[in-house]
């Protein structure tokens, strides 16, 4: 998939686990895992907003596009 998700790196930098992020943003662990592994087909703006707020980052830190 050309869209790369850098959630792993951001979690490591913030010393946060996926479970902690899940409880903060109100997304299930399963869904976050789907997102982290790049298997998600789409992401809602509300989810993106919640993750960026929890990780104090920009969407561009989370997602990049590679041809």
């Amino acid at each position: 998939m050309p869209i790369e998700v850098h959630l792993d790196k951001l979690l490591t930098d913030r010393e946060m686990t996926l479970t902690e992020l899940s409880s903060q943003v109100g997304i299930t662990l399963a869904n976050l895992s789907i997102f982290k592994t790049g298997k998600a087909r789409a992401i809602r703006f509300s989810t993106l907003e919640a993750i960026c707020e929890a990780l104090d980052c920009q969407p561009a830190d989370l997602l990049t596009y590679r041809r």
């Binding site: 869904n31 789907i34 087909r41």
Partner: protein
């Protein structure tokens, strides 16, 4: 009133041979027709069983809260095929019985209560439903993979 009309003498009294619609009881010695009848009934029962099985699975998936299960797409297509095959079985039965019936006068067996048009309509309706469920199951899959 015309009585005791001899077979073959219809043309003396009618411009065209009159047709009479009547049920025929199969003679015990007419084994060919009886075999055809039994095979036809067994075929239709088998098709009815297949159709009921598919319907039951569709209803169960809806009752379980997940009607847009991708397997329902194939189930609706099977139902459409079953409807068409059942009509084909009746058509084949009519043609075979017309040949095997052991009667002295020309007969044409008629088993189907409807023509082909309603059957095609029903099959198309079921295929349309399968397409609706296919779109629904794709939307469901997309929703499941949306975070």
């Amino acid at each position: 009133m015309l009585t005791n009309l001899e077979i073959g003498e219809e043309s003396r009294y009618f411009d065209a041979a009159p047709t009479v619609t009547a049920p025929i009881l199969l003679d015990r010695e007419d084994t060919d027709s009886r075999i055809v009848g039994v095979l036809g009934v067994l075929s239709l029962l088998a098709l009815a069983w297949v159709a009921l099985l598919q319907l039951r699975r569709i209803v169960r998936s809806a009752r379980d809260g997940d009607p847009f299960d991708p397997r329902n797409v194939a189930r609706f297509r099977w139902l459409a095929a079953t409807v068409l095959v059942a009509r084909l079985v009746l058509e084949a039965g009519e043609r075979i019985l017309t040949r095997t019936l052991d009667v002295d006068i020309p007969v044409e067996a008629s088993l189907a209560q409807t023509g082909w048009l309603p059957v095609f309509g029903a099959a198309l309706g079921l295929l349309a439903l399968s397409e609706i469920f296919r779109a629904g199951s794709e939307l469901r899959a997309f929703e499941q993979e949306t975070v």
